[in-house]
């Protein structure tokens, strides 16, 4: 590591605020984008699974001759 | 859009002649247009739009006389002469390759004006080869280098310790070079 200590790494001779803010901004954006993309897929998959369950159920119901609807 | 399809069909069913004519007209139109654009861009490039002239062009007389232009180079060491009673100053700009010219300027020099420093001057070239500067630009020292001066700078210092990124892929090194010059 270039720095002697953690405090020095945080301070960076007075430039620490700028540098850390940049890195944090980048990480936030990356994590947010990752989460949004993943959620887009998982909501779709959940929806599909849910739909499948309903279908299965209705099939089972009709097979049992149940005319609830 | 069924109507659109029908219209298209109708148009297609008409004799070929007008359609062909139209296509020919279009092609001529496009080709002349492109040719004219290329010609105009070539004309514009000939005009040296950012009006920048490196020292060798100033010395060799390629730079127009009496027109506002910009020139650049390094301030030659021990060439800065200040007038005792006014703000007038004269210094020599060089590309360290044997081309140098004198610059006359009257006014406050930027803080970062130093000997050995790269400088841009804007003004007019006089008949006798002296550059009468209206502006001397050396602000934002550490953040920005125009490409035309970067080349100068690189060739100017034979003793520079690092060579320009031998292993970096071309594109990236360009990016980084540009970047170093900017932010």
């Amino acid at each position: 590591m270039y720095f002697e200590s953690i405090t020095e790494l945080l301070r960076m001779d007075g430039h620490g605020g700028y540098v850390w803010a940049s890195y944090i901004a980048m990480l936030t954006i990356l994590i947010a984008n990752f989460a949004m993309a993943r959620r887009k897929v998982t909501t779709q998959l959940e929806q599909l699974r849910w739909r499948r369950q309903i279908q299965e159920q209705s099939k089972a119901d009709s097979m049992a001759g149940d005319t609830l609807e | 859009m069924p109507t659109l399809e029908i219209a298209k069909e109708n148009r297609d069913r008409h004799p070929m002649n007008p359609k062909r004519k139209q296509r020919l007209f279009l092609m001529t139109f496009l080709l002349t247009g492109v040719a004219a654009i290329v010609a105009l861009i070539l004309l514009a490039l000939e005009e040296n739009m950012n009006m920048f002239y490196p020292p060798d062009e100033v010395v060799s007389g390629q730079a127009p006389i009496g027109e506002t232009i910009r020139a650049g180079g390094m301030v030659l060491e021990q060439s800065v002469v200040r007038a005792a009673d006014s703000l007038a100053v004269r210094f020599v700009l060089t590309d360290r390759q044997g081309h140098e010219f004198a610059v006359d300027y009257s006014g406050i020099l930027p803080d970062l004006f130093r000997e050995g420093q790269g400088i841009l001057v804007q003004g007019k070239l006089a008949e006798d080869g002296v550059f009468l500067a209206q502006e001397v630009l050396a602000k934002h020292d550490e953040n920005y280098m125009p490409p035309e001066l970067m080349d100068l700078n690189m060739t100017a210092e034979p003793a520079a310790p690092a060579k320009p990124l031998p292993q970096a892929p071309e594109k990236l090194s360009n990016q980084m070079g540009a970047f170093v010059s900017d932010s």
Partner: protein, 265 residues
């Protein structure tokens, strides 16, 4: 015609969905490794610049963000062209998927640039050519975003955004050229960021690693978004339903679906 077949394949959302899985995993691993190494390297191990000091480290997030943001815009232009000429549905899916990340990364580039400007230039904002063209890039992104928001019909939205992406991309070099030219006329110019003309290897290597890492991240992110969008658009199609066993599938199939969700979780 083999070429045509290949195009058809590329145009098939199903085919894309299937091959994207492997790519996403690969890009994901690449992104985590390269970004992890590159960012920590840049943050803590690379030497500081002798003139700018440690604020130089902002470069390791600023430059990759700017580069990838521009590449994504270029990619949207290419997708727009493909979408206009071949009416490929996947092209619009790609535009929609690249848009949010590109916009976010342009904003990051501007924000970090501003943070870098303060200690180096002494001001948060300068009307420098590159700053201006990046800001314009952000507005080009916002324009396309607004247009997509305004249109609800999928096919019309696809055509409209393909057209505007293409027009914008053709204009990008013109805008960049004119802005750079404008700046050389107006901006006080000077040289020597570092007296040295280039960076030493210990400075540019971490940059290279971060740039590659961010490209991997972009690949991962865009492809994941595309997958989600494909599932949404094709949710009624047989192959998507088949993915979950379909109406008369055996019990084995839902298990794979389970595994799929599990992996995405």
């Amino acid at each position: 015609m083999g070429l045509r077949e290949y195009w058809h394949k590329l145009g098939s959302p199903r085919w894309f969905y299937q091959i994207a899985g492997g790519w996403i995993t690969g890009f994901g691993i690449g992104a985590v490794l390269l970004l992890g190494i590159g960012l920590i390297w840049g943050l803590a191990f690379a030497p500081p610049d002798y003139q700018q000091g440690h604020s130089f480290r902002i470069m390791y997030v600023h430059v990759p963000a700017a580069m990838v943001a521009q590449s994504l815009y270029l990619g949207m232009g290419v997708a727009g062209f493909v979408g206009l000429v071949w009416r490929m549905k996947l092209a619009d899916v790609a535009i929609g998927a690249a848009l949010p990340l590109g916009m976010a990364l342009t904003a990051v580039a501007l924000f970090t640039g501003s943070l870098w400007g303060k200690p180096t230039w002494g001001s948060w904002w300068e009307w420098d050519g590159r700053t201006v063209s990046t800001t314009l890039l952000l507005f080009l992104y916002i324009g396309i975003y607004a247009l997509r928001e305004a249109l609800s019909q999928t096919d019309l939205r696809a055509r409209a955004s393909a057209l505007i992406c293409l027009v914008g991309t053709i204009n990008i070099p013109i805008i960049k050229y004119s802005v750079n030219w404008w700046q050389t006329l107006h901006q006080p110019a000077s040289f020597t960021l570092t007296e040295k003309p280039a960076m030493p290897a210990e400075m540019w290597l971490p940059l290279l690693v971060t740039v590659l890492g961010l490209y991997c991240f972009a690949g991962h992110n865009v492809m994941t978004r595309m997958r989600g969008e494909i599932l949404l658009r094709e949710s009624r199609s047989n192959w998507v339903i088949g993915l979950f066993g379909g109406p008369d599938a055996t019990e084995a199939k839902p298990a794979t679906a389970q595994a799929l969700t599990g992996r995405n979780r």
